[in-house]
Symmetry: C2
Subunit: 459 residues, 2 copies
């Protein structure tokens, strides 16, 4: 397993003093590394944060593998009901390891597809019900608290559509003993897989939340965990030179806070990493977008993550990236070895715009374009850096996801914010409960009506 971090294009000699890191800034920032690791280690040792321990949960792995083996061959569709962290990890795994939709192999009971219902848009749910067959569908309902409105609403609709099969073909992934999904699962005798108390949704891909769908899709979950375990050891290194998660966090922190790069572009040159980019977008936004520091100081901090796809978005976003405001830092994600490189035929057509490509490979062109974009950004004074994965398999992906979680946790230490809560989404949820008439939320209905009266007066 090999994942490299290359920070050269973040440095002042490449992008200038105003936007790049000087030699003295670099040295003094890297000296903060050991304290950052030790501070985060305390949270983990006290049991407050659980994701670093997930790669070592042998019992969970066994339980998941046993269940997947038992149902293998019975279902052609795994219908995942979940939203946010309950869905994005499974999408990242599916997209990276089985290829981007809609170009995966045709689905069958030997090769079940993953149908993710992570929205209550009736157009999405309706389309899913039209293309699935209740006889060959296994439903996974995933919500940590067991109360998420969107997931439970979809579950009620899908359960009705399944008819009597629902009781035999539904699995719950939730917190045992808490919430109404758990209560229903017990009543209906659904299998239940636990989400550990100290693992939040966006850090849960290596718990049953991501591993169960992965195993049901036939992925090698043991290798996912092995890669993540190896990376976990690397991420506990206190020397930033040996620890890509730590070095990336320290340098991104400098570029964000000192060089005012308020937008973070995650820029995979790989369609298979597109799902991972969306998974990362939640991880970075929800963990680091905070009103207050841990001491309660009001800061309204947060770097806006943007997912861009190479080379595709060179023809969509790069004009802005090169010529627009210098308010971004770019992190390329590259994959070194491709199983198929896309050989372009050797025959020449006698046409300039075609002939220089003859005999080359699509993989070479992809690589040349990434290098060219990095160079062009650097020449325009735009700081950028690169993670390179040797290949895209279970081991590297497990390691990469775990590394990005560590990077996020380290960044939270540097900013002194709590990476593991999300107080900002509560108000909206309560408004929704109020509007939907949930008992106990009548106050929010009233507050919403007050807001509507303010709107009438505002125009």
């Amino acid at each position: 397993m090999k994942i490299r971090f290359d920070e050269t294009n973040l440095l002042a000699p490449m992008v200038g003093e105003a936007h790049g890191i000087s030699a003295s800034e670099y040295r003094s920032q890297l000296r903060r590394g050991p304290d950052v690791v030790r501070a985060f280690r305390k949270l983990v040792d006290r049991g407050e944060v659980g994701f670093p321990t997930l790669p070592y949960q042998k019992g969970v792995l066994k339980q998941i593998q046993t269940f997947a083996r038992k149902v293998r061959g019975s279902f052609d569709s795994i219908c995942l009901l979940g939203i946010g962290g309950s869905a994005l990890g499974a999408w990242a795994l599916d997209c990276a390891l089985r290829g981007p939709h809609p170009l995966q192999k045709p689905f069958s009971k030997a090769h079940p597809r993953l149908v993710i219902l992570d929205n209550v848009d009736p157009a999405l749910v309706g389309a899913a019900l039209e293309t699935m067959d209740p006889k060959s569908t296994l439903v996974l309902a995933i919500t940590k608290q067991g109360t998420t409105a969107e997931t439970l609403a979809s579950l009620l609709v899908v359960r009705d559509w399944m008819g009597r099969r629902a009781s035999r073909q539904t699995v719950a992934v939730t917190t045992p003993g808490r919430g109404d999904l758990y209560a229903l699962a017990v009543r209906e005798k659904w299998p239940v897989f636990a989400i550990p108390e100290n693992v939040g949704g966006r850090f849960s891909v290596l718990s049953a939340v991501g591993l169960l769908p992965a195993a049901l899709m036939g992925l090698d979950v043991a290798r996912l965990l092995r890669g993540a375990a190896r990376m976990t050891e690397i991420c506990w290194e206190t020397d930033a030179g040996d620890n890509p998660a730590l070095r990336a966090a320290l340098l991104h922190h400098l570029v964000w806070v000192e060089k005012k790069k308020t937008i973070h572009v995650a820029f995979p040159y790989s369609n298979r990493l597109w799902g991972t980019a969306f998974w990362f977008r939640q991880l970075w936004a929800e963990s680091l977008g905070k009103e207050k520091t841990r001491k309660g100081e009001i800061v309204q901090i947060g770097q806006t993550p943007v997912a861009a796809l190479g080379v595709t978005d060179q023809h969509s976003q790069v004009q802005l990236y090169i010529e627009g405001p210098n308010d971004k830092v770019f992190t390329f994600w590259a994959v070194e070895k491709q199983p198929w490189e896309g050989r372009i035929p050797k025959a020449r057509l006698g046409l300039d715009a075609f002939d220089y490509l003859a005999g080359r490979k699509l993989a070479e062109l992809l690589e040349a374009e990434r290098l060219s974009t990095a160079a062009t950004l650097a020449e325009a004074g735009r700081p950028n850096c690169t993670f390179t994965l040797e290949r895209l398999d279970e081991e590297h992906l497990g390691a990469f996801l775990q590394m990005l979680e560590f990077e996020t946790a380290f960044m939270a230490e540097l900013l002194d914010v709590n990476a593991f809560d999300q107080p900002g989404v509560e108000a909206g949820k309560r408004f929704t409960y109020g509007l939907m008439g949930r008992p106990g939320f009548e106050d929010y209905r009233e507050r919403f009506e007050h807001y509507l009266r303010r709107r009438q007066k505002a125009v």
Copy 2:
């Protein structure tokens, strides 16, 4: 056709003076409307900008309909080779009018699927070749200049895979008489559909670039154009009160420039509008992200567009949106009428988190969540506004796309930038040509090597 723009939550009484538009700012900004429309009208009347005339090209419509009728029933896959503006419009149409991948109906010759190869990632191209059958695949190669490296490289690979069928099953969409795609098309006797000289890629969805794939998918392209034509009339209204594109441009301009909202979140509450959000992301970024004004003044201006999906991203991005820096303006895209509303069964389970949902509809929940998010953003002082489409059909989509193009063009007038060029992407292209050994680009190879030497010294 009914599309409304609601700006109430952009106003100071809703989000405060620091972040919202005051009554006097509103009045004086709206008075600029007529000048903006007249200035843009001049560009169109002089023939410099062509997109407003596209809805009226009866000849093109007929040519496309005739071709689509001729090949209907022969192909189960329409393989689109194109990147940026050559691909995003077709994706927007497919996603909005036939539903989001991978949940479309199974494909067949009666219901062909659209396979978009908008990247040279061999994993994408390889997966496409594995799932398509050369016998039943029609290839559309789309590039305005006829020289785009990615499109031509993919074409060479796909052409080789098609074998002798390539000559009968390929169509070119390009500028007649220019570029090597046109030369090859003439040599191979492929049908050619023209892209008008004064229509750039990101404004080309209502030319053959978008209409041809749409017609091949069985969409009603005449109705697309009818909606767009009706909207075009509305967009030429000089009174901003009657012109949603103009009012949106004027008010977004104030919020962007005066209230420093450097990020523009396009926030559809509809999986079917997700492709449109990515299409818009190119339109806004490439048209308005510019180093210089039209007078040559260096400004490095540009608002970073972000695509977010409601309700899904409430559980991913809204924590940042509510608590993070107040540097964003949000534009919700709502759809009023759903063909299927997703009735939730009436039976109660005796479990609180389920029972308030009993008998309600997914469409109601979707709407309640959108309203709640808008209210929560407003209460946190975050300016937001809403476009509402009465329904999602060809007529409304044609109108909506045209409206967003007018809004972008009006914004360019307000900023005094050229919305119709993209000089910032040229440098990267030349580096790529240099690295790929294209004759005539040896200087860029050398410049790249100089950059590599600088990198070695920088570390």
